[in-house]
Amino acid sequence: MITSSTVVTSVVEKLRAALARGQWRSGEMLPGQRELAEQLGISRPSLREAVIVLETLGLVRSMPGKGVVVLEASLSDGQSHDSAVAAASLEDVLQLRYTLEPFIVGLVAQSISSKEVGQLRLTLMDMREALEANDSEAGVSAYIAFHEELFTLTSNPIFQSVVQQTSNALKQSAEVLRNSPEHLAERLEENEAVVRAIRSKNSAQASVEMRRHILREGQRMGIELNIPEDNLGS
């Protein structure tokens, strides 16, 4: 269980992006703690915490007394227990979302405050503006932000590791998500239906709308989603 604050999360993202860009290659050491913390404008404890997260993701390894060495991404993929997601296919991620998100929106519908509803609606408004401005980049960002907000609203720390995984996967598939403006319009409509249900505190309806959204998402991506039939009909 890694305590994560917004600062740490954003530093993790920054470092991940830098690693993905190849700013440091595998086998290389990251700059010293003090230097790196200064570069990123954060405290050393926050940096250390971010490094622990990166270590958990199998991207770097701390060498006591020496520094932090960058691991080869492809190498740590198959072998590390903690980087399963890097190897995840879009179908895996949709299946995972289908398993968790209908439940999550159901929970959120039970406990949400009107202020929080307002926040969700603002994010949807961002999505609408992006659509109208034909800015697919911003559209995808708003979509991912919406997804992350829903997880955060459960205030259940158990889901925090999984939201990091799924939103990273969404970011990786941003190419697919950006592909067409009609898709963004549909996505917005479906998410609006989810928020309407949440707003009227209708858990069951929120779950139904989320299920529908994820199935459609699969169709849009050209993925035939394998959802085993619930034999018990529960």
Partner: protein
């Protein structure tokens, strides 16, 4: 001169076999409550205790922290998580969602090799007399079954939930019933590709855990009756 292997060498060997073994030994100790939430230890003292290299112990602690069993915080000693009833409830809930889906997926594609591994595991469980090890083997059963579903991120999520429920069992100091019987039932269903039965067995198992862990009072009553 330094005694460390070069970073490059270490980087090519992210998980050495000895680390898996060390992981099992540490987890056994936690499940046996030889190391518990009030224990004071550091990466170094643990490494000494287990006669392991500090870097290997670090790997083990990192993995256990993903499994939520160990809490790692900057400027604090590592410690064993301590669960309250609410966390246990949430964990069990999330676990039910993920595991039901994983079991249904696994039933679509039971592979001979995976089934064989699970059989061996259940055999070991049946023969195991030590409590801590029995709990760990039971965790392994659930996680290996999840692997068979072929959805890595979902199985990964389950990996952060199952050890935690087992930790709760260990911490509440409840009598562990013989889970291998249920595991065998589940395995038989899996072999037949019988998702309905597998799901019934799993739900029964989770209902039982919920009852045990969320109503400490009634569980206490059971223990008194039993003892």
């Amino acid at each position: 001169m330094n005694n460390y292997a070069s970073p490059q060498t270490l980087a090519t060997l992210p998980v050495r076999p000895s680390v898996d073994d060390l992981y099992s030994r540490v987890l056994d100790a936690i499940f046996e409550q030889r190391i518990h939430s009030a224990s004071r230890f550091t990466e170094e003292s643990l490494a000494q205790m287990f006669g392991a290299r500090r870097s290997d112990m670090r790997d083990v602690l990192t993995r256990l922290s993903h499994q939520q069993v160990i809490i790692l915080r900057v400027n604090h000693r590592p410690r064993v998580a301590e669960l309250d009833v609410e966390q246990t409830r949430q964990t069990l809930h999330a676990r039910r969602l993920a595991e039901v889906m994983l079991v249904r997926l696994a039933c679509q594609r039971p592979c001979a090799q995976g089934l064989k591994r699970l059989r061996t595991l259940v055999d070991n469980e049946r023969q195991c007399a030590e409590r801590g090890r029995a709990i760990r083997l039971s965790v392994e059963f659930h996680l290996q079954l999840a692997q068979m579903a072929g959805n890595a991120p979902l199985a990964h999520f389950l990996e952060s939930l199952v050890p935690l429920t087992s930790l709760a069992i260990a911490q509440f100091d409840l009598q562990q019933k013989d889970y291998y019987v249920e595991h065998m039932e589940m395995l038989d269903a899996l072999e037949r590709g019988d998702a309905a039965t597998a799901q019934v067995v799993l739900n029964r198992h989770l209902d039982y855990l919920e009852d045990l862990l969320l109503n400490p009072a009634s569980a206490l009553g059971q223990n008194c009756a039993a003892g």
